[in-house]
Symmetry: C2
Subunit: 590 residues, 2 copies
Amino acid sequence: MVMKRYQVGFNNISAMLLLRRCHNLTRFGPLNTQRHLVAPAVTSCTVRLWSSGSSEDHRSYQRAHGPRWRHALAGLLAGTGAVLAYGLYHNKAEQADTVRVQPIEKTSALPIFTQEEVTSHRSLEDGVWVTYKGGVYDITEFVAMHPGGDKILLAAGGDLEPFWALYAVHNQEHVLEILSEYKVGELSAEDLKKQQTIESSDPYSSDPKRHPVLHINSLKPFNAEPPPEILGDSYITPSAIFFKRNHLPVPQVDPASYKLHVDGLPGESLTLSLEELKTRFPKHTITATLQCAGNRRSEMNKVKQVKGLNWGIAAISNATWSGAKLRDVLLAAGYRPDDAQWARHVQFEGLDKDVTGTTYGASIPLNKAISEEGDVLLAYEMNGEDLPADHGYPVRVVVPGTVGARNVKWLGKIIVSADESSSHWQQNDYKGFSPGTDWDTVDFKSAPAIQELPIQSAITTPADGAMVNRSNEEVTVKGYAWSGGGREVVRVDVSVDGGKTWQVAELKSSEKGQEPEPSPSPGRAWAWKLWEVTAPLPAEAQELEIVCKAVDNSYNMQPDTVSPIWNLRGVLSNAWHRVKVKIREDESEE
Amino acid sequence: MVMKRYQVGFNNISAMLLLRRCHNLTRFGPLNTQRHLVAPAVTSCTVRLWSSGSSEDHRSYQRAHGPRWRHALAGLLAGTGAVLAYGLYHNKAEQADTVRVQPIEKTSALPIFTQEEVTSHRSLEDGVWVTYKGGVYDITEFVAMHPGGDKILLAAGGDLEPFWALYAVHNQEHVLEILSEYKVGELSAEDLKKQQTIESSDPYSSDPKRHPVLHINSLKPFNAEPPPEILGDSYITPSAIFFKRNHLPVPQVDPASYKLHVDGLPGESLTLSLEELKTRFPKHTITATLQCAGNRRSEMNKVKQVKGLNWGIAAISNATWSGAKLRDVLLAAGYRPDDAQWARHVQFEGLDKDVTGTTYGASIPLNKAISEEGDVLLAYEMNGEDLPADHGYPVRVVVPGTVGARNVKWLGKIIVSADESSSHWQQNDYKGFSPGTDWDTVDFKSAPAIQELPIQSAITTPADGAMVNRSNEEVTVKGYAWSGGGREVVRVDVSVDGGKTWQVAELKSSEKGQEPEPSPSPGRAWAWKLWEVTAPLPAEAQELEIVCKAVDNSYNMQPDTVSPIWNLRGVLSNAWHRVKVKIREDESEE
């Protein structure tokens, strides 16, 4: 099931990749007909791309197209659940071979290289070589085409296996076929043996067990969401079904030896053990909703394919979080008001890392971090228990009102800085663009990193395509609503006629039967509201189009439709949520 | 011109007033056919309303319908430029007379009353009497129908003239006709003489001169906006054309005797002269955009008539403001952090007042008022000069990022309080409701007072209906964009094909040819951005539908269409702005 979803992604994405270069087509049809549709149109493009046989030609191509090309692709692999374009690539390669100046001879005996020789090829200038299961490959020409962007250069001069283990999407026959095109030799037996002893097994093998009810969007790294009707059933989402959004394997952290480092402030840096974090600072508890920037991305995919995990409406959940206030820890680390003269951001580094040692990273504005009312926590409890492994054990940042991506899990380091995090996830991912911006024209520096999220709501029940019996006479609609920046949801409008007429839903800010939580002070409404409304079934209708839209206390509203907010990364999908429900005429009882 | 606009308002509103009571119709047609359409449908309703001849019947009607009715109507008169329903009323009255139990004899000699007798009738229980030019009127039955709500009770027991002078909309033949229906006697000659000597002349006679370019929406009180193309021409709006939104006559304030009172904090209250305000506190300057909650209301009126001034797109302007920080003044008045335990709001009272002495009032949340980053000013300069009379001379509040209505002008008093301002403008006006909420169902307590405004943008040029020559080959589109709460506008998308495809506009944060202002820190982007984009004329098109939509740094977007955000007060009108432009095929030159 998961694999199939990837497969679909590949084909679609690969078409886009090519189309971006060729500008011959702007839309493409259903997936299964994809190759046939695309192939004729792109021949001239593949020729151009692949006829550059000499390295001089190659470099001039790189100069002309490479940086933007690579820039545009950056982060696919790392940030988004890794969708790759091998299906199409393969298709292209078949055609390209016929026009290649000097096809590589794959059957002849190839030279033997030492690891040292391989390691000397780790740049576009010196060539980019890698090894894989004893083979040596010159992938210089492939770098610009790698859907995961220049992250591929991290493997330059070394072995691919640890990377492919990390991003399981590479475990595809297509990928091996592509790689085989680039084979230039064999690794010496001695070096291969060394490599095999060093390389670890599946880095995801120690990931925790997960609840079987979750819909899995990606297994490695693990990304999953609960079924909407279960999500909408609890004001506080049980941790086991709280949506999971991992970028890398779950790190194993020993609480006894855990250290949190606070750097960047004048004077010595502060290092805290878990025990110190728990005992030196007051424990604060907040109820806060976290939402992935990609929540509801699947609706954007229906408009036009975007890059990223195909989230439904449940990449959002609500929990209580307890921990030390980041503000208190920064003050203990020596932060003084004067530091606001130079400091602008607080960066976070996770303990989750890829094989190169690159950790997950993000940052938030200093004023959010240091504000008494910002309520940023270094949380060590979720819903009254130790953080689960998937949610950042032993310590994560909870930045209420802010996109999930900044709520760094398995927190290892805090850095007060004049600059934003330089991480890929801050600089080239999790940003919103105009619907008119495509991968050819995107300038990642032109948009701010997403921090506060806009007003959002969705219908958790009934599900799209559900049936309602006519004899019920009415339909009960339930959902969630939330806004970023601590803006409180003040109203949810629901329509059962596609948006022509509207009813106001009842808002709930507690579990069923419990007292509502006290009203938050202005700008500190971190938790969602669940809502419910019962509408009579219109006499004539055979189908209902149920729509919801929420309003926050800045009176921000959701946009009506998806197309005008479509963006190439499929983030910030917050148009009115719509589900269609059929009315079943009951059989008369005799 | 102004009068004509009112006339239109009356007819439409009057139809709505009646329809609300009768529930017979939900929509109504063009204005000129209004009376004929409505009259037959409402007969049963007018009978019900008017057949309650006895005061007992009347009171039971009041108990059943009065409070909600009056509540729903509250504030029309005072808050919105005063639209009244006399046209329809008159129509109803004609019909109603035929079924009234005891029609009043208007021609016979009527009794003489003293002022004391009149004054004894100032409640629904005792009857509501008023005088007008020597006549005495029992308007008890009219109270529930007064489009200005129960503000009419302020005149109970006294003379109408000062009120009618204040709200010039009463100066209509219809109004006198309605009033005549209620005549019950004459005021004694002696009391009439007293009254005439007391009563002042037109309270608006000392209003300042205004720039003739302004489009006037209401003369008394003065409400006007600049032409869009002039507005969009300057990053800093010249004070003379900055939109004017007065609720009452402009007060004459002597700067030498001016006192600002700060109340509500423990200990003695603080009183400051203008000189003290200027010298005891550091002078801060900010550039901030103010916007009326009713900006772009005219677009809502096109969907369905709402109540309020028929603003175009220019009830928004940008200026520099200098003054003392409210925070500094509150600290000087004895504010301590502990006060946040009980204090929640900071109320403001203007020196502009109606004949009963009721001043304009509003409040903002305490955390906005006291925050170092809230930048709330007690401003005494606008664009480098003393505040103009229309903008609050000598001192006004500037609450950047917050709806114009809270930026109280001619500031007289500041009150730190556990409660919001009890003013009509805070409690029953300037709130947003669902499109499904009408005057019958509205519960003003159910919505929060508008504070921060949502993302907004509009096209200042070309104007709707403009012509573009085909030979120009392209069209340049300009406009403004702004968001409340200090959220910075990060992008404006512009379409010339009604929203199918989009271009990104260039943003400007300074006057032409000047350096852009430095980027504001997060949450402190108080000023708008002007924007501009040039788009090629589509080859085939004969007409362009130009659309703009803006995005702020919380990635809030504008809703696509007006209908789903329509609300009975016509506030918060921030759907995509659309103008249609015709392409003129040039005559070929021979």
